[in-house]
Symmetry: C2
């Protein structure tokens, strides 16, 4: 199994503005606030309309800016999607804390962190939108895979002292993703109504086995 | 955690024809062959068009029968969907063989069976269609949950000698569902290109822990 090279970061941190479109002097002077507004609008549009029905034009309108400015900051629709998804995954920034503690408690901390993100409606709604987009649109699945999931998984894999760390991180991620599907999308009982801590107690040893065994 | 009562089977085996619609004398005389053709057409239509864009009328046209005959045999669109999904899950009929052998090998047999179903394009395509429908349409998710998943999980749970057998069967199912998502939908590497037997070797102990521990 070969690890693929790191993709070129397209939206890492605050990227240099792209020379696309022709933002008016006024729009360009709106600076970082406009960029934040565009991202917020993109996140809302993708969450409410889905990948297919969201357009650069619609995002620009919701953000109160010219469509050219959206192009200017982010490029294509796929790149706006990637940036909006990354905003949603910001809770993942606490991952170092999850990864940093006692190695024997890694599975438990990861299970609890993952469930807390999905239990919070503020993060669950955009996550569901991303899941829907990825399942129904190959372009969205590609963005999720190449920009978001890979970085997230590689950050986790980098902390692991096991063979095939990326595969093991993916197996752990697959379990949590499947739990999200059955608990929050399909709402299969008894999983849908189970106490989060009961799920953590059952799932933590599985994640620990994938991530912690040498 | 309470187990819910068994749902009333709506499409088990060969149900008595429903008295809906007004099938013509000719159509009604087409008998079981027409029923099979309708199911095949429904499976194809749902797989190719998705839940939303599939109609009773379209299924009838593809099967070469009157729409009333579709109503007559299956009832509503949701009921046709349930029946079509059950046809897709027919490989699950071999579940007793998976469940019946050496209890210590249950996790391994289940992981291998699951991957074989998804590796076969003939079953993967309709499974992907079901997954897409369930993620994007609540009605499809409800059908999947109430008619298909519940019966499948309860059949597995009935064979288990563990506490909370349905929850444990769901956790095992969630892991396999998540693997299907990452491997076949998102196509995250290295999972997407991993040898099925390598995945079986990694995943079998997890399934065994859920299904085989007392």
């Amino acid at each position: 199994m070969t690890e693929e090279p790191e993709p070129t970061p397209a939206t890492d941190g605050a990227p240099a503005p792209r020379r696309r479109g022709r933002p008016s002097r006024k729009a360009a002077s709106e600076g970082p606030d406009a960029r934040t507004r565009i991202l917020e609008a993109a996140r809302t549009e993708f969450a409410e309309r889905g990948y297919d029905k969201t357009s650069i034009r619609g995002i620009a309108k919701a953000a109160g800016v010219d469509a050219a400015l959206v192009h200017h900051y982010f490029g294509t629709k796929d790149e706006v999607f990637a940036a909006a998804v990354e905003v949603t995954f910001e809770p993942a920034l606490v991952l170092p804390a999850v990864l940093g503690g006692d190695p024997d408690g890694l599975g438990e901390r990861l299970a609890r962190f993952f469930l807390s993100v999905w239990e919070d409606p503020g993060t669950r709604t955009p996550l569901l939108a991303i899941l829907r987009s990825a399942v129904t649109h190959e372009a969205a699945a590609n963005v999720l895979r190449d920009f978001v999931l890979r970085r997230l998984l590689e950050r986790i894999a980098a902390e692991l002292d096991v063979p095939d760390p990326t595969l093991r991180a993916e197996l752990a991620a697959s379990h949590m993703l499947g739990i999200a599907m059955l608990r929050y999308v399909v709402r299969a009982e008894p999983l849908a109504s189970a106490d989060p801590e009961d799920i953590v107690a059952m799932v933590a040893p599985t994640l620990q086995r994938y991530l912690g065994e040498g």
